[in-house]
């Protein structure tokens, strides 16, 4: 206040003192000041109080809202954390399933390969055996054909008239034995 009065006094052109020369100006000025203050307190005070109260309420509401948002965010964070945990569990399960499936497929492929290899070995052995038997049979047949051809030639050569007569006599004797 004194500072303001000094400034006012300085505005009047100044007399070297901190109060005007005219004391009435001090009274009038003070009265006007208090009137203005009073008017301000009377007219603007409630509005200011209301504004201040509203401001407090707003801040409280903002705080509540912030708290709620914080709680929501924390809930969301927890949910996400839970989901992440579930995802990790699912990933672990899928990974385990994949490993189990891969192991089973590998085992199946190995078993199938071994079975096919065994079948091929057996078939190969069987084919070789069949071919060997066929070759043996063919050889026997060829030997028989050649032997019989030679035998026929030898027999035909050895069948002179006497032998032919003997064969016919044997035939007649056999007929006699039948009848």
């Amino acid at each position: 206040m004194t500072h303001a009065l000094a400034i006012l006094a300085a505005g009047e052109g100044g007399n070297g003192f901190w109060i005007p020369h005219d004391v009435n100006e001090v009274f009038v000025g003070s009265a006007a000041f208090f009137i203005v203050i009073g008017l301000l307190y009377w007219k603007a005070g409630p509005a200011i109080k209301a504004a201040m109260a509203k401001r407090g309420d707003d801040i409280a509401a903002d705080l509540d809202e912030a708290a709620q948002a914080k709680a929501d965010a924390e809930g969301e964070r927890d949910a996400i954390a839970t989901q992440l945990a579930d995802r990790e569990t699912e990933v672990a399960r899928i990974h385990a399933d994949a490993e189990a499936t891969a192991a089973k497929v590998e085992a199946d492929l190995i078993a199938k390969g071994e079975a096919e290899a065994k079948a091929i070995r057996l078939r190969g052995g069987s084919d070789v055996e069949v071919a060997r038997r066929q070759a043996r049979a063919d050889l026997q047949a060829e030997l028989a054909r050649l032997s019989l051809g030679a035998a026929e030639a030898v027999v035909a050569e050895s069948l002179d008239d006497s032998t032919q007569a003997d064969l016919i006599d044997q035939y007649i004797a056999q007929l006699g034995a039948r009848s």
Partner: protein, 175 residues
């Protein structure tokens, strides 16, 4: 050739032979001539050549067999050749011989040997075969080198095989 046609030809030729009183001669000679022709490729080819006129084929028959067989046999053979059935002469001759034998109450019996048989052998064989068949037979002896040795006899549908050939075949089947 169908069996019915063979039988018809055989019966017709047999009727002609009977009419001429030469049934036995025709049956025997036609049977033998049929086998001779069957074993002679050139003669068979000539007699079965459809491009040759019938009189040319019958002339060949006359030239080859004239005077060697009975006139009734030559006539029967010429008839078969002229009608273009020379390739069926064997079947016709068999049917004629069988029919002739059957008329006499005998079974036509074909006896195949590798060598020609003496009269004594033929007689003993006929007797033995007749005894084995249990009925009278009409034997026809044929020399067939395929027999190799021994005897192969067919009495109607009955076969009595004592040939070396059959033994060789049995031996072949054992392998």
């Amino acid at each position: 050739m169908s069996e019915a046609r063979t039988e018809t030809y055989a019966e017709a030729l047999l009727g002609l032979a009977r009419a001429e009183g030469a049934e036995a001669a025709v049956a025997d000679e036609l049977y033998r001539v049929a086998r001779e022709i069957d074993g002679n490729a050139e003669l068979r080819s000539t007699l079965t050549d459809a491009s040759l006129p019938a009189d040319r084929r019958t002339k060949v028959v006359t030239d080859v067999l004239g005077g060697k067989v009975a006139p009734a046999t030559l006539a029967a053979l010429s008839a078969v050749v002229a009608s273009g059935r020379a390739d069926e002469l064997g079947a016709i001759a068999d049917a004629l011989a069988a029919s002739s034998a059957g008329s006499a109450g005998k079974a036509l019996t074909t006896v195949r040997t590798a060598v020609a048989l003496s009269d004594d052998q033929q007689q003993r064989l006929a007797t033995a075969l007749e005894a084995a068949a249990g009925r009278p037979i009409e034997p026809r002896f044929v020399v067939d080198p395929e027999v190799v040795g021994g005897v192969h006899a067919e009495i109607g549908d009955q076969v009595i095989d004592g040939s070396v050939r059959s033994r060789l075949i049995q031996l072949r089947e054992l392998f």
